[in-house]
Symmetry: C2
Subunit: 249 residues, 2 copies
């Protein structure tokens, strides 16, 4: 039974990303990871450590997608308000979770589990925990919302832990074609025709620029191997024709 594509949104929480102090490394990792397991990341938002903004974004995104992932704001300090905001978004109570405390005891002596650290064990009612092999304080999942740390190494470990529990779709098949020095402006019209003629794939053209000038790649993406192969062949034919036209007589 085809249940349609599995989609996701990502909510990055933290003033430090918006001020530029911290350069986010999680968006790229999560995007690539989800694509690899057949989940379409459809939207990303970055919001500050402000309750109203976080609650509004959680509710907007969780209703639109199969999954919502969040990163950041689950540490022990006063600016870590993600767990409370998620509880508020769901309208459920939040309290110290004995399962989370048990996990944290693997790292902290009982006398070191002070009130601030116990903040990291506060979990909305009804949530499942997501293990944190690095620093023990867990993430959690409530319904379709997965709450993870912002520190990249910990976020990555949490994503590894939660991934096997996720529903995933057919993996996207991707064919990347180097335009071999042809400028976008020369193949744009033909590429548009190819795109129109091949339903079921998306075709993108991606320039990059460095000291040697522009370099373009064309990416054909779709879920059906035959369709992707046919569209990619049409792109290669187009490029070969244009290269031949450019070659000196």
């Amino acid at each position: 039974m085809d249940q349609g594509p599995v989609t996701a949104a990502l909510l990055v929480i933290g003033d430090e990303i918006l001020s530029g102090r911290t350069k986010d490394k999680n968006i790229g990792h999560i995007a690539e990871y989800l694509t690899d397991i057949g989940i379409d990341l459809r939207e990303v938002r970055v919001v500050p450590d402000v309750e109203a903004e976080i609650v509004a974004a959680v509710n907007a995104l969780r209703s639109r997608h199969t999954y919502l992932f969040t990163t950041g704001g689950i540490g022990p300090t006063h600016d870590d308000i993600t767990a409370d905001c998620v509880a508020k978004a769901f309208g459920v109570p939040i309290d110290v979770d004995p399962r989370a405390v048990a996990m944290m005891r693997e790292r902290y002596r009982p006398e070191d589990l002070n009130e601030a650290r116990l903040r990291m064990a506060r979990v909305p009612q009804g949530a499942d925990l997501v293990e944190n092999p690095i620093s023990k304080a867990p993430g959690f999942r409530i319904e379709n919302v997965i709450v993870m740390a912002g520190v990249p190494a910990i976020m990555q470990a949490m994503l590894d832990a939660v991934a096997p529990t996720l529903r995933s779709g057919a993996r996207m098949i991707v064919d990347t074609i180097d335009a071999g020095g042809l400028p976008e402006g020369l193949y744009a019209a033909g590429l548009g025709e190819v795109a129109k003629g091949h339903a079921g794939v998306s075709i993108g053209s991606y320039p990059s620029f460095d000291a040697n000038g522009f370099r373009n790649q064309i990416v054909v993406r779709g879920r059906d191997a035959g369709t992707v192969t046919a569209a990619a062949a049409a792109v290669r034919d187009l490029l070969a024709r244009l290269q031949a036209d450019r070659a000196p007589a």
Copy 2:
């Protein structure tokens, strides 16, 4: 006359960011750049190359902030739909702009300005152009929305070109304090008290993690120098007290 803080949102447009194929480098650059000139970046969204999504995001964000910056989707290929979406969001016509064509003639011979390349000269009615010293095809500004390229080198040049025309606010004053090996869980309670006692500043605690374990930094931010200095002094006092408590007798 204090006109209040100058705020901004950033809309990153492109399937390639959401698939993980391209790792965004623009969010971090723009965040740091705007902070430096006294503009508060308050929200970032990443959306796919889908008209309805782009139009909805443009309209949501331009109404909430002093400025909205967009990156991506202004090249010559069929997947470059940003200019059309912005015109649609404003409800204005879009057509080839002779000023943009004149700029592009600096790079292209008349016979090379084909239909696809002229797509890059299409600009919503009423927009001002933003110069592109690298590849000539301009960005544009319509009301409070600034539309820039996605290629980082070009986006950066466009941001440099547009920045002098922007209203900017008082620059944020930032004091970064190294927690010197103290774990967050030890200073969290005290830091929360300092934050409560110092209105007008935001205080964040930012752990990073590498092979040597965690390293924490505390950042105090505000627009009034005296207030930031007082709050930062309170943070340093707190850390010094905690370090003394930890030192062997």
